[in-house]
């Protein structure tokens, strides 16, 4: 039981797909202009993740190694098309209008293929479902948080409800892609800061992932002599 709960929690915090694994950045940046968009995209991705994880974990035993990636992609694409059709039929028209063009992109969302390859193909169906659920929830929560921040900063509203009524004109930077990059960067920085202080307090040496470690980054040193 603890194992299954651990699989879910891990996706939400310790291995959060957006903030730690830094996967699926395209929908993250393109879609989170409002909180409700974030919720919708997150839920669609969660459904695909759970479905594809389940099917992949069931068939992993018989899929020939050489063609496992195309087989997984077919499975994922099937689930995405199912989601697309279901949303078209039952989702509120405004939500489908906003997400419609991004739904097919879930096929190539690396979170989905990544979990199929890294987790579902090596674990049983029940744990794979939990992993898909956890990763999906982590994705949904992060997208919602990001959507809320962007919506609030650009128009003073949360979930379409204006909190600061004095903001008549929209501030466009947070609603555009560059603003999304900046906000994701700030969230990553805050998260890393907390992990670092926690590690120091525990007496451990905190090593940030090399991609986001300033010591490994060459951008600022580009025109200096080594």
């Amino acid at each position: 039981m603890k194992k299954y709960l651990g699989d879910i929690i891990r996706g939400i915090w310790k291995e959060n797909p957006v903030l730690v694994l830094l996967l699926g950045t395209c929908p993250t940046l393109a879609l989170t202009t409002s909180a409700s968009n974030g919720v919708g995209m997150g839920m669609a991705t969660t459904f695909v993740l759970v479905g594809s994880n389940l099917v992949v974990s069931l068939i992993a035993g018989i899929v020939p190694k050489k063609i496992r990636i195309p087989v997984y992609i077919v499975v994922i694409a099937t689930f995405v098309t199912v989601v697309d059709l279901l949303m078209k039929a039952y989702a509120p028209p405004a939500l489908y209008a906003a997400l419609g063009i991004f739904i097919p992109l879930i096929v190539v969302n690396c979170i989905v293929l990544g979990r199929a390859e890294a987790f579902a193909s090596k674990n049983g169906p029940l744990r794979s479902i939990c992993d898909g659920l956890g990763m999906g929830l982590g994705f949904t929560l992060t997208l919602t948080l990001l959507g809320m921040l962007r919506e609030f900063l650009s128009s003073g509203a949360v979930f379409g409800v204006k909190v600061i009524t004095a903001w008549e004109t929209d501030f466009l930077l947070p609603a555009a892609a560059p603003g999304a990059f900046i906000i994701v960067g700030v969230i990553l920085g805050v998260r890393n800061h907390f992990r670092r202080t926690a590690a120091i307090r525990a007496g451990k040496l905190y090593v940030p992932p090399s991609e986001i470690d300033c010591d490994n980054c060459r951008i600022c040193k580009i025109d200096k002599e080594d």
């Binding site: 202009t33 409002s34 035993g61 018989i62 899929v63 020939p64 190694k65 050489k66 063609i67 195309p70 087989v71 077919v74 499975v75 694409a77 099937t78 098309t81 199912v82 059709l85 279901l86 078209k88 039929a89 039952y90 028209p93 209008a97 650009s154 128009s155 509203a157 379409g160 409800v161 204006k162 909190v163 009524t165 929209d170 501030f171 466009l172 609603a175």
Partner: protein, 223 residues
């Protein structure tokens, strides 16, 4: 186990083919199951939009009876079989981000009742503000139900009560026309204004024909 390590390309090809076939079967099934629902959802959103166009009360389904003139689709709006208005559906490709579609409600003499944008992909905060008719929710009123009727939009509302009788220049003021535009969203304002103008002018030009066509007996609705 043998299948898993297989490198025989015939086996691999057959396996992939079988997976593809299975997924095609699943998709065909789901598509069949959802097709009527999708059609219903599309009709529902369209008739919900038509209801907002400030027509006098009507009781027919305008989407059934339509005629196309110069790329504008005209639909009859009836009450008890009598024509009370005409709905027009127009579209343009000159939006800032692709296609914009709109519904225009006309009185039978060609006066515009209301304009409603049904499809757009404009920039949030700029072009979207030109197209959106939305009741503004704030922390002070979000628990109250939204007021009935069509939410205001200063760009779209200026078309109401206008008529293509040759006196109005269907362009934005920046181009020398009669309609105000939103600064920062000139392209969208221009596209919407010109599209509405086209719908109004097409209606004025073909008014006799359209009315004659709709005056013929309304087609029996088969459900």
């Amino acid at each position: 186990m043998k299948l898993k390590e297989s490198e025989n390309f015939v086996v691999l090809g057959l396996f992939l083919g079988a997976v593809g076939l299975l997924s095609a079967l699943v998709l065909a099934l789901v598509s069949d199951l959802t097709a009527p629902e999708i059609e219903k959802a599309e009709l529902r959103s369209k008739s919900a939009a038509l209801k907002q166009l400030k027509f006098p009360e009507f009781d027919n389904d305008p989407t059934v009876e339509k005629h196309i003139f110069d790329g504008v689709t005209f639909m009859a709006v009836r009450r008890g079989g009598k024509l009370v208005g005409i709905a027009a559906e127009a579209e343009t490709d000159s939006g800032y981000a692709g296609k914009i579609k709109e519904l225009v409600g006309f009185k039978t003499d060609g006066t515009i009742l209301a304009v409603l944008i049904t499809e757009e992909k404009e920039t949030p905060g700029l072009g979207k503000n030109v197209c959106e008719r939305k009741f503004k929710k704030t922390i002070f009123n979000f628990l109250k139900p939204a007021p009935k009727g069509l939410p205001a939009n200063e760009i779209l509302d200026q078309f109401s009560d206008k008529k293509a009788d040759g006196k109005i220049d269907w362009r934005v003021k920046k181009d020398g026309g009669d309609f105000t535009f939103r600064t920062g969203a000139t392209v969208t304002s221009r596209a919407v204004t010109e599209m509405t103008g086209k719908a109004a002018k097409t209606f004025a030009k073909h008014r006799e024909e359209i009315l004659a066509k709709f005056a013929e007996k309304a087609p029996e609705v088969t459900k």
